[in-house]
């Protein structure tokens, strides 16, 4: 594992812990009606920030990775993830417009994007024989 990948994993671990803490705090606060006005908006946005941080960590990893082949694999993986997430979101949006499926919160796109990284990894394996990684 490259030093850049180790730093990426460490950043994602800390951001994931921060996400869990922010989400629990927001759920607790809204459940007990502790927030109002502008504070409520800030508290609602707070769990989103570590997720955005993970996207940033991915970008930073691509910038820091010195191995050009591994970097290319990660770029391909991210493109597959983006295509997968946008396609699922588009299909779901139309299904929802015609009242064929339930409403899904838009932050689900981020979760689908992370799932898409798995799709990208499998595609790298199938097309280039690269080891599967998520």
């Amino acid at each position: 594992m490259s030093p850049a990948m180790k730093r990426y994993n460490r950043r994602v671990l800390w951001l994931s812990l921060l996400y869990a803490a922010c989400l629990l705090a927001a759920i607790f606060g809204f459940k007990h009606k502790l927030f109002g006005g502008l504070i409520a908006y800030i508290a609602a946005i707070l769990p989103a920030l570590p997720i955005i941080g993970i996207f940033g960590a991915m970008g930073r990893y691509l910038f820091e990775e010195q191995d050009e082949y591994v970097r290319m694999l990660t770029v391909r993986q991210s493109l597959w993830a983006s295509g997968f997430a946008l396609s699922v979101a588009t299909i779901w949006g139309f299904l929802e417009s015609f009242d064929l499926v339930e409403h899904v919160d838009s932050y689900s796109v981020a979760i689908i994007w992370f799932m898409g990284l798995g799709v990208g990894s499998v595609m790298n394996k199938l097309t280039l024989g690269a080891p599967v990684k998520c």
Partner: protein, 71 residues
């Protein structure tokens, strides 16, 4: 892109890992270049050429030249 990397490496009795360490890339990268699944950037191609003390065209086969031979 076809290349002679595997042959040159074998002549020196280097493993893929040995070559990867000398080039400061992953073994995975060396394998992808050797098998023609990945074409290295110009800076990496120069590093490879300098390591083997050979001109780039003696390591990598020009795709244009390769296809004209095929015709």
């Amino acid at each position: 892109m076809e290349n002679r990397l595997r042959v040159l490496r074998a002549e020196r009795s280097w493993s893929q890992q040995d070559l990867a360490e000398r080039l400061e890339v992953s073994r995975q990268s060396v394998n992808a270049i050797e098998t023609g699944k990945y074409d290295p950037s110009l800076p990496l191609a120069f590093r490879i050429a300098e390591l083997f003390e050979l001109p780039i065209e003696e390591i990598f086969v020009s795709p244009a030249r390769h296809s004209s031979k095929a015709i």
